[in-house]
């Protein structure tokens, strides 16, 4: 069995895909937004004019100005810097969760789909069960056992996100399993590991990539939400949801910037990821095109 | 003679992501009252697009850019969609290829049939149900009453096709377009449906356009045949004329490739090559690259137009200019 028999990635197919992606303006917008935020996260310390945890009792709750682009919070900390550092927090947590949950979901999903039968049924029932529990609840339960904090947050979100990937991977594997070339390969004595890596994985990856991009957005939302209610990231780390919860009580007295800017950051990032994911979906699965 | 349906120089394009696909070019044909026309062509020749254009249900990337379609004296292309809606199903109706997907799976047969009846008539529910039952009997569906209460997935392919036929004739259409109605059915059922369609034509005094890729089937039902290839009509004439004396090289190749008892023992003929890409129509004769009878470069340059010969025959081949 030579390498040539594995699925060739057509050169013209790749450039065709790039063409479709670039022509979809929204996808390009999404990709740009994501790229910008990643840049912000990486270059954080260079972009932030003032350290995010520098307390300054002389400028408490200042509205946005030339000195403080986004204003200051109740401790006088510069909101602009805090939002920038928040990008680092959210994106790094997001990356960790998404990478590990994708790996886990891929592994379990493909194996389950490949093995089929009762094992597959059992695993999928379990996945269904897990999927039905809102990640918030899972996070809350874990928080009571392990206390709040980043570690709990990551584990909680990992537990909730791998299921989506697993489902998709399993679905693709199942349909591939029944396709001609897998049966044929097994018929001429191909080993299961070969089939898995050279035939199934390349076909499973595109939809998984799409769903992982979309779930990245979800992870960011969840991180913000859980930090908002107090069981995610703990102060004094800068995290968008946390900043919002700290600024929450001031909204009824008119200090809107504490809530507005971090939330705007969340929305833009998630929107970028959603648009990017949709764009990827368009190039990989024309059937689902709008 | 006043023609029931007359298509004149119809041009249809599809605006795709990769360019403009000229799917139908200069199509002209007529169908008289109580006449049956067969349209024969392989996949990609444009036959379904033609039927959809006549019915006015061409899906969005498709556009009729020029030409006219006269039905009972009216140009269908100039009608408002409301008026066209009144004609569809009543004056003009269509039968599709796959009966199992053409009936809405979530609604009972009864509901779908009376919906059509009530759209085009003033029948109330009870009367419509009665008429539906009657129609099912006409199309020879056994146990009509119980079939009415069933869902489409509970019917066999042949029965579903009959239900579709019943719905298509429910309002006494003057013209029925059957788009590959037997392609998805097995041979015995096919024979029954062919016989049924002939009876329906007689009983309802309607004309019929039968679209198929199978010359054999078409010749059993139709008095006239039009052969399509690559978006144009290459030959049109009465069935006996075409069968006894096919003029266009494509028609001849098509007939040669039909298996028959007289060719026993010899290898099956096929037509070499592929249907041309509609995005990039070559200059000259559309059949050029597959034609076995071309002489020299007879088929470069402008494509040969449909030339009228005697007794209503028309061919699009330079040989007959």
């Amino acid at each position: 069995m030579t390498r040539d028999t594995r699925i060739q990635i057509d050169k013209s197919k790749q450039s065709h895909r790039k063409k479709i992606f670039l022509s979809n303006k929204l996808s390009v917008v999404g990709a740009t937004i994501v790229f910008v935020f990643i840049l912000i996260a990486i270059l954080g310390p260079l972009l932030a004019p003032i350290p995010p945890d520098e307390i300054n009792y002389h400028s408490i709750l200042n509205s946005p100005s030339r000195a403080h682009y986004f204003g200051t919070d109740r401790y006088g900390r510069d909101l602009f810097s805090r939002v920038i550092y928040g990008a680092r927090t959210s994106l790094s947590i997001g990356f960790i969760v998404v990478i590990f949950s994708t790996l886990l979901g891929l592994a379990i999903g493909t194996v389950s789909g490949y093995l089929g039968g009762n094992i597959d049924n059992f695993i999928m029932r379990f996945v269904d069960l897990l999927m039905a529990f809102p990640s918030v609840i899972v996070a809350m339960v874990l928080a009571t056992i392990m206390g709040g904090g980043i570690k709990t947050l990551i584990i909680a979100m990992l537990v909730s996100s791998w299921t989506g990937t697993a489902r998709i991977a399993r679905g693709e594997t199942l349909s591939l399993k029944q396709s001609g070339y897998v049966t044929a390969t097994r018929g001429i004595g191909g080993k299961w590991s070969y089939i898995l890596f050279y035939h199934i994985l390349p076909n499973v990856l595109p939809p998984v990539l799409v769903s992982s991009t979309l779930s990245f957005g979800n992870v960011i939302l969840n991180t913000a939400g859980l930090s908002f209610i107090g069981i995610g990231v703990q102060p004094p780390i800068s995290e968008w949801g946390l900043i919002i919860s700290e600024g929450r009580q001031y909204i009824v007295s008119g200090q809107w910037w504490l809530v507005f800017f971090p939330g705007l950051a969340i929305m833009l990032t998630v929107m970028g990821l959603n648009l990017l994911g949709d764009g990827l979906r368009d190039i990989f699965d024309p059937r689902q095109r709008r | 003679m006043n023609r029931l349906l007359s298509v004149n120089n119809l041009n249809v394009v599809f605006n795709t992501f990769d360019g403009v696909s000229r799917v139908l070019r200069d199509i002209s044909l007529e169908v008289g009252e109580c006449e049956s026309l067969g349209i024969v062509g392989e996949t990609g020749s444009g036959k379904s697009v033609l039927s959809q254009s006549i019915m006015g249900i061409l899906p969005v990337p498709g556009k009729i850019i020029s030409g006219s379609i006269f039905f009972k004296g009216e140009n269908l292309l100039s009608l408002s969609s409301k008026k066209m809606g009144k004609i569809r199903g009543a004056g003009l109706s269509m039968i599709l290829q796959s009966p199992m997907t053409s009936l809405n799976p979530l609604f009972k047969v009864k509901e779908q049939m009376i919906e059509v009846l009530k759209t085009h008539s003033r029948l109330n529910n009870k009367e419509a149900v009665y008429r539906a039952e009657e129609l099912l009997r006409i199309v020879r569906v056994p146990e009509a009453k119980s079939v009415l209460e069933r869902y489409p997935f509970e019917l066999s392919g042949g029965m579903a096709q009959r239900v579709m036929i019943a719905m298509a004739v429910s309002c006494n259409p003057a013209l029925i377009i059957a788009d590959e109605p037997t392609t998805a059915l097995d041979v015995t059922v096919e024979k029954q449906i062919i016989k049924l369609m002939r009876d329906i034509m007689r009983r309802f005094n309607s004309s019929l356009i039968w679209i198929s890729h199978d010359l054999d089937v078409v010749k059993q039902v139709c008095g006239k045949i039009a052969v399509m290839y690559g978006g144009i009509i290459v030959e049109i004439g009465s069935t006996e004329d075409i069968l006894s004396q096919p003029l266009h090289p494509y028609t001849r190749a098509l007939m040669d490739s039909q298996p028959s008892v007289s060719k026993r023992g010899r290898p099956l003929q096929s037509i070499e090559g592929f249907v041309p890409n509609m995005l990039n129509i070559p200059d000259g004769c559309i059949f050029d690259c597959r034609c076995l009878e071309k002489s020299g470069d007879c088929c470069q340059g402008t494509p040969p137009a449909l030339v009228e010969l005697d007794n209503g025959r028309r061919v699009a081949c330079r040989k007959y200019l």
């Binding site: 069960l129 999927m131 039905a132 529990f133 809102p134 918030v136 809350m140 339960v141 928080a143 009571t144 056992i145 957005g217 939302l221 913000a224 939400g225 209610i229 107090g230 069981i231 949801g241 919002i244 909204i251 009824v252 007295s253 008119g254 809107w256 809530v259 507005f260 971090p262 939330g263 969340i266 929305m267 998630v270 929107m271 959603n274 648009l275 689902q288 709008r290 | 019915m55 249900i57 969609s81 809606g85 199903g89 109706s93 269509m94 599709l96 796959s98 997907t101 053409s102 009936l103 809405n104 799976p105 979530l106 779908q112 919906e115 059509v116 759209t119 085009h120 869902y151 997935f153 298509a168």
Partner: protein
């Protein structure tokens, strides 16, 4: 014959989930470092109280006996004690459930009606102005965090425009809940003909319901649109059109029933997400419902209600699953058991 087998499978599944939840709740207090008995009591509890609880929980007995004990108390309807409020968990649930249900049902109902309608219009007028507008609107709903939108709305509509009352929960501070009523304020107020109360409750409900429904509206709109577009390409719609069935009927009767499938498929997931969303909205608007109660319990480390929540969530999950299955069966005649 087949239906009773299906019923049996369902019941077994439900029991398994509930038992699983009870095991998780049971383990919860024993896995956390510290004395389980002390955890169920306020931090300043006296040693004798702790000892009493120890005996009641049977902490010196083998685990199996403890679990069976716990199971027994569950079946008797004892979900534990909530020390940060001073009432039993069951009492708290009874008090707070109507608030959450009122909020959730109205939100989901609103999201479903408007979302489906918008989705259909977007699909029918594909790539038109409404389609693009609703797409932008949808993307916002899915990308923006609910609690942020809630806070911004409070700022705009309460602080700046004064169109809605302050977020003090279900009612203004001067009003009181109808004594002995069902707990569903709109219904109680109507029943008693108390127009003032109705208006007050309504105005307080307005913003939370709109904000909570936003993300669902967005999702339902997109799903409906996708479903309707897919249906419009089906053969049976082509055939219906060729039979002359009027466009309105084709859209609202024939396409809708088929096109709404993706929404129903996600219904279970929606309800799960709704529960998550409720937590945030209740926190932002100071709504006296179960969501906020859960958050408070965690922040106070009040383990009694947390245990109760796990059981409760399992119950809800199981009921939702059943309801979705039944809805499916009602709509699609192809599904048989």
């Amino acid at each position: 014959m087949n239906f009773s087998r299906y019923l049996l499978k369902r019941v077994v599944f439900m029991l398994l989930v509930l038992i699983g939840a009870s095991i998780v709740a049971f383990i919860l207090v024993r896995v956390v470092p510290g004395d389980p008995a002390r955890m169920l009591l306020p931090p300043q509890a006296k040693q004798e109280d702790v000892d009493r609880v120890r005996i009641k929980m049977g902490l010196d007995r083998p685990y199996i006996k403890q679990y069976l004990n716990y199971l027994k108390s569950l079946l008797e309807g004892d979900l534990g004690f909530s020390y940060h409020t001073g009432r039993t968990v069951v009492e708290e649930f009874k008090l707070r459930l109507p608030a959450t249900i009122e909020l959730s049902l109205l939100s989901l109902g609103f999201a479903a009606l408007v979302g489906v309608w918008l989705g259909i219009i977007s699909a029918v007028h594909k790539n038109g102005l409404i389609d693009h507008a609703s797409r932008l609107f949808s993307i916002g709903g899915i990308s923006a965090p609910g609690f942020w939108i809630g806070l911004l709305c409070i700022y705009i509509f309460y602080y700046k425009l004064s169109w809605v009352p302050a977020p003090t929960g279900r009612l203004s501070l001067t009003k009181e809940v109808v004594a002995g009523g069902s707990g569903f304020l709109l219904f109680d107020a109507l029943k008693n003909g108390d127009w003032d109360l109705f208006k007050d409750a309504f105005m307080h409900l307005l913003l939370p319901v709109l904000v909570l429904s936003y993300s669902f509206l967005a999702m339902i709109c997109r799903l409906t649109r996708a479903g309707m577009i897919e249906v419009s390409q089906q053969d049976y719609i082509k055939f219906a059109k060729s039979c002359g069935v009027k466009t309105n009927k084709i859209i609202w009767k024939y396409s809708l029933k088929n096109g709404i499938k993706p929404v129903l498929t996600m219904l279970g997931m929606f309800l799960a997400q709704l529960i998550g969303g409720v937590v945030f909205i209740e926190t932002v608007f100071n709504w006296p419902g179960i969501g906020r109660y859960a958050v408070d319990s965690i922040n106070f480390l009040d383990y009694g209600p947390i245990q109760g929540f796990i059981i409760f969530m399992a119950l809800i999950y199981v009921l939702i699953n059943l309801a979705v299955d039944l809805i499916y069966m009602a709509i699609d005649p192809r599904i048989q058991y």
